[in-house]
């Protein structure tokens, strides 16, 4: 058998994966092992598959994803901490023919922006909200988030979250599912190939709801933060499965008819 050369391998017919075209060429700023990169890719793939690249406006506020606009090759705004859904409301109200989405972390969406999140969902703004929940403030260096689970250690709960002293985690997804303005509310994860596929389906569905003008579509992605959790990527996935998922159950919480 002849020796296999590199040029024999790099062929179009052997290709099993390529960069999502809507990614810019900029290297992601996320830590290796973090779920943000996959979540970004899924959003971009959905936009591409729906052929709405020139018809979509994204909003990413302060948090690890503050630089999303450097990676997503679509028109984007960077919002102040917590204010993404207010900005998205403004955009969608004056530009109802555009697809508008926010991409927010837990500190942003569930702490400083809780008011904006709830009122946007309650008004039923016709937008998609992608909510990355990793139970920690990644960008600022691992402080407690509103979604930090009981006994979880962070730099501002170094002995574990004591709910008596620090209050309880906030299940935003369950909360917004109660509101009349939401049409589709689901919680997914991206740490296994099967879950990635399910998440992508949910994101696609969320955009389809927007297309059908049904109200606010809300997709939470429970993700890992190996740096903030001080674990290796593999350990962090195990920790997520053992600790986060029992608290934040995956599944569809609300699904109005999509006619």
């Amino acid at each position: 058998m002849a020796e296999l050369k590199l040029e024999d391998i790099i062929k179009e017919e052997n290709k099993v994966f390529s960069k999502t075209p809507l990614f810019t060429d900029k290297p992601l700023s996320y830590c290796p092992g973090c779920g943000h990169g996959v979540a970004h890719r899924l959003v971009l793939e959905v936009i591409e598959e729906m052929n709405i690249t020139d018809n979509v406006i994204g909003v990413a506020p302060v948090g690890c994803s503050v630089l999303s606009y450097e990676f997503m090759n679509i028109d984007m705004a960077e919002a102040a901490h917590g204010r993404a859904t207010a900005m998205a409301t403004g955009i969608k109200r004056v530009y109802p023919e555009k697809f508008v989405f926010t991409y927010q972390g837990d500190g942003d969406l569930a702490a400083i922006g809780t008011g904006e999140t709830i009122h946007t969902c309650n008004r039923g703004e016709n937008i998609v909200i992608i909510f990355i929940n990793n139970g920690i403030y990644g960008m600022t260096g691992g402080q407690m988030a509103p979604t930090t689970i009981p006994a979880m250690k962070t730099s501002t709960s170094p002995y574990g979250r004591d709910t008596q002293m620090m209050g309880n985690p906030l299940k935003m997804t369950e909360l917004v599912a109660q509101l009349d303005g939401t049409c589709f509310v689901a919680r997914h994860a991206v740490h296994t190939p099967v879950l990635v596929r399910k998440t992508k389906k949910a994101i696609r569905k969320a955009f389809e709801y927007q297309k059908a003008k049904k109200g606010t579509a809300f997709v939470e992605i429970v993700s890992n933060c190996n740096s903030g959790w001080k674990l290796t990527p593999l350990q962090s996935i195990k920790w997520l499965e053992d600790n986060m998922l029992p608290y934040y159950n995956l599944g569809t919480l609300k699904e109005d008819p999509l006619d």
């Binding site: 810019t24 690249t53 020139d54 018809n55 979509v56 406006i57 909003v59 503050v66 630089l67 606009y69 997503m72 090759n73 679509i74 028109d75 984007m76 705004a77 960077e78 919002a79 102040a80 204010r83 207010a86 900005m87 998205a88 409301t89 403004g90 955009i91 109200r93 004056v94 530009y95 023919e97 555009k98 008011g115 904006e116 009122h119």
Partner: protein, 361 residues
């Protein structure tokens, strides 16, 4: 000749928004300016022009809705009063820092804190010196009549788009609440989406037009060399604004030995004070800054050689007086007279203050 009506300042400016072809209004009720959103809701401008009106859950949300809508190149406005405008400062800093055009109206009431619902001019520092964090300026226009509440709306939008900078119309509870005869300009058309793309596609979020790079609205740059360069770009813009956009009015200044410097409703009261003073043989004029930023430093300085003294009249404990002292370089006596807490000075009080603080001082 446009349509003539008797209107409250707040209602007139709301009508002016519709007629100026505004695309979106986002606001939160607060006294003494709630008539603006009430008027808009009752007029149903979505039926008249397609203009969107939304009552937000807070002033914080309202300014960020403005930020979002304005990012798309569409004409966007919000209104509030002092405590609400304080809540908007974060958003205004972001809007200035990402060079997005919009208009904000402050119908000023007394503070600090919850203060009073009565008129005041004590937000001068906040409006003209930045207000939020970082090096930036709003362009600040000060109407002194219901007519100017109307006329300043298209002017404010022209400036906002010319410089891609937030513009504040700084009114006060007197102008907002009083009724005057007003001539309304003809309905201007809202721009179509295509017209907006044609005009602003080099920066606005219109959806990534095939063939162009993606547009990004952000106030963030983590590379200090680039951020410094951007700060200097803003500085250069403000310099041009200071050189070209100053507006003011001089009343009976030609022979004046003394002038009042006053803006907004205080300048209206001062007009009566001039008449009283002149009856008493005092040659008094009024210098009215119409743009509070850019401030007419040079134009006030030019008057100094003829002057024996200057009295600034503001409904505050003395804010604009600092700029007037800068303008005059302390070459003539400059004193401040003001009532605060929602109290409004009478014309006679102002003349008395001129006599005691300047002439007899």
């Amino acid at each position: 000749m446009g349509e003539i009506k008797l209107m409250k300042g707040n209602e007139a400016i709301a009508e002016a928004f519709i007629r100026a072809g505004v695309d979106g209004y986002f606001g939160y009720p607060i006294t003494p300016q709630s008539e603006i959103i009430e008027y808009l809701m009752s007029e149903e401008p979505h039926k008249r022009t397609g203009m969107v009106v939304l009552q937000a859950e807070s002033e914080v949300a309202a300014i960020n809705m403005v930020y979002g809508a304005a990012c798309t190149g569409k004409k966007t406005v919000t209104t509030s009063s002092s405590p609400g405008v304080s809540l908007m400062q974060e958003g205004l800093s972001y809007i200035a820092g990402s060079e997005v055009p919009c208009v904000v109206v402050n119908v000023v009431r007394g503070g600090p804190g919850l203060g009073t619902i009565q008129p005041s001019q004590a937000d001068y520092f906040q409006s003209t010196k930045g207000g939020g964090h970082g090096d930036y300026h709003l362009i600040v226009l000060a109407p002194s009549s219901v007519q100017e509440m109307v006329d300043f709306v298209p002017w404010a939008f022209d400036l906002a788009y010319k410089y891609r900078n937030p513009v504040m119309i700084q009114s006060d509870g007197v102008i907002g609440q009083m009724m005057e005869k007003v001539e309304l300009f003809e309905q201007m058309p809202r721009l179509t989406n295509q017209e907006i793309k044609d005009k602003y596609d080099d920066w606005a979020l219109t959806g990534r037009t095939p063939g162009r790079e993606h547009n990004v609205i952000t106030s963030l740059d983590l590379v200090p060399e680039r951020q410094e360069k951007f700060n200097h770009k803003l500085e250069a813009k403000y310099k041009i604004i200071e050189q070209t956009e100053v507006k003011y009015e001089k009343i009976m200044c030609d022979d004046a030995d003394y002038i009042f410097v006053a803006y907004g409703s205080s300048s209206r009261i001062c007009q009566k004070s001039i008449a009283i003073a002149r009856e008493q043989g005092l040659k008094v004029g009024l210098f009215r800054p119409i743009t509070l930023y850019p401030f007419p430093y040079k134009e006030i300085m030019e008057m100094v050689p003829q002057l024996k003294g200057v009295l600034t009249v503001e409904m505050s404990l003395g804010q604009m007086v600092e700029d007037v002292r800068l303008a005059t370089e302390f070459k003539v006596p400059v004193e401040h007279y003001g009532r605060v807490g929602g109290m409004i000075p009478t014309p006679e009080e102002i003349v008395d203050a001129l006599k005691t603080k300047i002439i007899g001082g």
